[in-house]
Symmetry: C2
Subunit: 799 residues, 2 copies
Amino acid sequence: MNNLFFYAVPAMGVVGLLYTLLKFSWVSKQPAGNDRMKEISTYIAEGAMAFLKAEWKILGYFVVIVALLLGFMATKNEGSHWSIAISFIIGAVFSATAGYIGMKVATKANVRTAEAAKTSLAKALNVSFTGGAVMGLGVSGLAVLGLGGLFLILKHFFSPDGDASGMLRTIEVLTGFSLGAESIALFARVGGGIYTKAADVGADLVGKVEAGIPEDDPRNPATIADNVGDNVGDVAGMGADLFGSYVATVLATMVLGQEVTGADGSRLVDQFGGLSPILLPMVIAGVGILLSIVGTFFVRISESAGISTQAVQKALNMGNWGSMILTAVACFFLVHHILPASMTLRGAEFTRNGVIGAIAVGLVVGALMSIITEYYTAMGKRPVLSIIRQSATGHATNIIGGLAIGMESTFLPILVLAGGIYGSFACAGLYGVAIAAAGMMATTGMQLAIDAFGPIADNAGGIAEMSELPPDIREKTDVLDAVGNTTAASGKGFAIASAALTSLALFAAFVGVAMPSNQHIDIYKADVLAALFVGGMIPFIFSSLAIRAVGEAAMAMVEEVRRQFRTIPGIMEGTGKPEYDKCVAISTEASLKKMMLPGAITIISPLLIGFILGPEALGGFLAGATVSGVLMGIFQNNAGGAWDNAKKSFEKGVEINGEMYYKKSEPHKASVTGDTVGDPFKDTSGPSMNILIKLMSIVSLVIAPSLALMHKTEASVPATKKIEVSIVNKETVADSNTTVTVNAETKSPNALIEALKKDGLATGNDIKLNINNGIITINGKILSAEESKKYIQLLSTKK
Amino acid sequence: MNNLFFYAVPAMGVVGLLYTLLKFSWVSKQPAGNDRMKEISTYIAEGAMAFLKAEWKILGYFVVIVALLLGFMATKNEGSHWSIAISFIIGAVFSATAGYIGMKVATKANVRTAEAAKTSLAKALNVSFTGGAVMGLGVSGLAVLGLGGLFLILKHFFSPDGDASGMLRTIEVLTGFSLGAESIALFARVGGGIYTKAADVGADLVGKVEAGIPEDDPRNPATIADNVGDNVGDVAGMGADLFGSYVATVLATMVLGQEVTGADGSRLVDQFGGLSPILLPMVIAGVGILLSIVGTFFVRISESAGISTQAVQKALNMGNWGSMILTAVACFFLVHHILPASMTLRGAEFTRNGVIGAIAVGLVVGALMSIITEYYTAMGKRPVLSIIRQSATGHATNIIGGLAIGMESTFLPILVLAGGIYGSFACAGLYGVAIAAAGMMATTGMQLAIDAFGPIADNAGGIAEMSELPPDIREKTDVLDAVGNTTAASGKGFAIASAALTSLALFAAFVGVAMPSNQHIDIYKADVLAALFVGGMIPFIFSSLAIRAVGEAAMAMVEEVRRQFRTIPGIMEGTGKPEYDKCVAISTEASLKKMMLPGAITIISPLLIGFILGPEALGGFLAGATVSGVLMGIFQNNAGGAWDNAKKSFEKGVEINGEMYYKKSEPHKASVTGDTVGDPFKDTSGPSMNILIKLMSIVSLVIAPSLALMHKTEASVPATKKIEVSIVNKETVADSNTTVTVNAETKSPNALIEALKKDGLATGNDIKLNINNGIITINGKILSAEESKKYIQLLSTKK
């Protein structure tokens, strides 16, 4: 066995982390500006840390309880192991660390970006993007190190020679890592999302709308909370989110890879002891780290460049597309080197070239999703222009316009996604669906760097404003911020597509584990169909809770700010000092309180459906939740993005029916309403949909072995069919779902097979059973007449 | 055969129509008020007729083209008949007539209600409710007469002795009737919905918000269009809608009823030649008419009653619950009298008592849905109060609050619905699901009377305002209008539940016809799953088109009204006459133009999926569309209803944080924004979801025989399974999806069965085939050795 590649995976993770460390210290060494700037950035950093600590405290209880439950459940199931609890804790800790790294660097980079903007746009971009890159590579480094390292350790204990049942156990325990990562991600995303938008909406409603002071004005008591929010939501929340996604995607491919066999169901022959399909996604992720680092070198603009969004956008595009194209090329060679020429998964054969095709499908889907999302949310394009036009007739038509655009924007992405499912499946079966997602996610390091740089620039602008720096500083940070908004939007399109494919891969993995002998999710059955409805409803109730939490917390914020304006003497003149900490406390408390219920729904509902209605109904539930979650995610992200940019368009003035309108005009006010409604859509509930659908699939996958035990017999009861054929011949092969006629009586072979399994005469799923004149042959072994008789009696009469 | 019941069905339809005629002439005889009132009501009636005529002209082309296509397709398929084209046209004409009757009586009853309000609230209720009842009984009378009469005629030609294949054809042709009804319903609902809301929103935005004149002020040029809208949307549109729903529900039950057999698959033995399961839903519908008429007698308030909503609400509740309870009792006796003790559908046995249980489940689901919907939209309850509170902080939080309530409101209804699916299936299998819906819809006459009385009262108020009648008249009509809003909301909850159950019954019928030998919709397959996503997207794009159409048409309306205010001298002083007809024309044109695309999507998308991807993928598509359609329907209806009543609450004043707010306050303005956004939600796209999901199912059912022909072989290819059992014995029975091993080679029996069918040796689905030492026995008939050999050669080698 060629072990080098297995060790290379965590090593590449370490490379990512080394890069992170290096660049982190570089950022720290940059000048942090004057005392006022330092003071403000300290407020922000402290507020953010206070939130993270409070969040971790609550999540600590959650992690311990779930770990105990997991460990206990695992001891009841021979396919699992108590160490899944450890694996879960590591996943949770790594996920929290990913968020922490991001937040730490972001709260350093923000003030240094503002300071750098004094020199030039190029320098400001360099600092802010490097901050983003620290986070991006930190997240992907941790993910690859965690997965790759844990895999090596578990394999050493459970499956030193790579045998199938040990490998199944290895992967099952590894699922705990992903569960830990994804559940922390959910809470971080929802909690952070509520925090940031409550502060943002609250600050805007009183500050901009009522008091008429600019954004980030230091007189506004909610302004520090607003800037803290950018860090805990858009940085720490997103970091944990993408960490979870990344891990889930790679894991889903590994789960399916573990099932891949040679053409006739025999063990796969390759240079990695049959483990190449498991190895591939990890190696792709690792190489993705290296290529993301390479990609960061492309993100540069010349010192002499003017203050233009185009130059910045171009630099980021270079980095993004550059690392993506490099990844595509690398995948081609990796697949050729690692995989054997042909493989089989669940009876469907596929080739190495098919896998390359599937990765290509994944990259094309990702690229198309980004482009479509950008179209729907970019300034100057038809969707945003239509919202601007509808702002002319007031708040209501602006809202109607945005909602309509959001709903419309599901059309193309869903067609692309459906095509992607169909295409990647056609290329390489279920493994193709999973590897397509893994290919898309390979450049997560780069993606995240680009995503995270936006909030850093946003914060830099806030600090510039609050420190009363000259307006040209703000102008430069605004350019960075504007580009950050566009990349954030297209990043969301990318993320939801990969989440959908990952969920489907996890779904396939779940079906394989939970229903080994009956791999169907038949929505023609009443319970499965009912579960499909219930699953579809979950994203609605989740969104409802998330956006209402923002609305209510924002209202509390508004009232607090109004109170301070009323009661603190001299606050509007700048002589009285606002109580920033009161507002920070409101956001912190509200977000932690309100993240519980949506989180609980996500984790508990699959458990209820699975244990009460069984694995097939749970399959229906997952399908319903995935479809509805993807739709709601796209709808909310794009509506929010379009509203945001419709509002931003007024800053430079827009023409409606031949008249020009600017800030403070009536149409602009209407557009602010849309933007405010869009805030929780695009930054709280919309992006949570990704995690929601993946986390529910992972929860299902974790409980799958238990469900398989509980519902074994039920799952293999055949559906009634109408045409019956009876054939007598020397060798009649039927499948286990078939009833057979013995002595004119119709019988079911299920109980017989169970007994054979229990007695150790048959294991796993590949069983060849033959009964010939009262003699049983099982997987080639012939039983004695007496023994055979004992088992044949178990053929149960059909009802 | 007891034919009396068969003739009783259309006879009961005639009773409904006679009632309609009688009451129509009563309404016409009521005094129509002074000249000004007559003038205004003539404007409204003419505007409404103009719209209907323009709409019919367009739909005329559509009907002719589709009829030709249907007729042509039917000739290619022996299970159908060209007369389906006629059946389709009759359905379309009946549906249009249903809308016409409603509109005709509504435009008479409106002004007469205003006049009656001069006398007393009791009289005004009597006139407006009688108007509603004319429409309700007219619709249900037409439906029962059409279905019952057509069934008798078709049965006479195709299946005089009630044999199964002839009956299949009868029902297939009858499906055309439902297709005609439902497709006209879709256009009427969408077109009418766009019309009414474009006018309403447009009139409000300029009139109430900009010019500060009250609703229905005669100086507002859009006010006539607004009142016309109430008639074409809320009356004619809803009439056609419920006509379609009602027919689809009864038909779905008949389709499944046609498949019901005795316990061992033999023809059912009952007193109706085995047709009792087909007869039952028609009889229930017919008896529902009689009991709805009885129910109308309960709707009375005393002349001495004060002007209170409670009294009116109580009277309507009496009528509604009265006829529903009577129907439940009647169903009990009807089922006992008509059905045999036990039956079988697709291998699942169920009993007469099970059917009664299923109807009970349906009625409970309907009642619960009404109650839940009322809770979410009624004044003074938590949801509406939360929106009011969120109006205090502005437009945006009001919108966020309403959206959150709408999303939350899917939770309980979906659980009830899922329980209903599970429960009715558990009671009586698929037939149970269908009959549950039929039971719910039995009192459509009454439901519709209650629904239609609202817009009549609304119109009456408008006429009172425009004719400058004393304010106490308006006060009385406002009471009626307020009750009408509540009943409309709970009626929508009822309608979406019945639509969901009906769609599922149609879905089951579709699966039976399109995939007779492989009744599974397995979302574990990539193409089915991809189709599930695409199906889920349809309600989003449909809603987007519908609400955007309203937004754009409203904008055109706003601009026209602004122009008139600007250019017509003396218009604001009441000396210049507004050009009402210009506004009517804008609404008419916009609605007709914008209803095309959503309608086309609904009809064409199932065709594309079905013919390109096959019946199983179409099944996935339908499931996705149904789940997402039900969710979007509930979300939009309830959000819209809650916003509406939040706004209405300000009329009497609301308390927020200890302060009282009234009309014209800032929070009230925010609530007007919510109401305006909610208008297209609750009256255009929300209610269209019902028709959308049913129409797509019906389209699929109509093409099902063609799909079955095209995809016959594909559908019966078995999925690969892992456990294989081979048993050799004297009598081995396997099903056709099984591969068999002959001489050590694995073979598929499908081609052999096809050949036997083609040669007339086997028909239908119940085939018993036995191959014993080279001799074939088919359904008891033994073939010669030579003949057997010929067929056995057809056992095809498995790939």
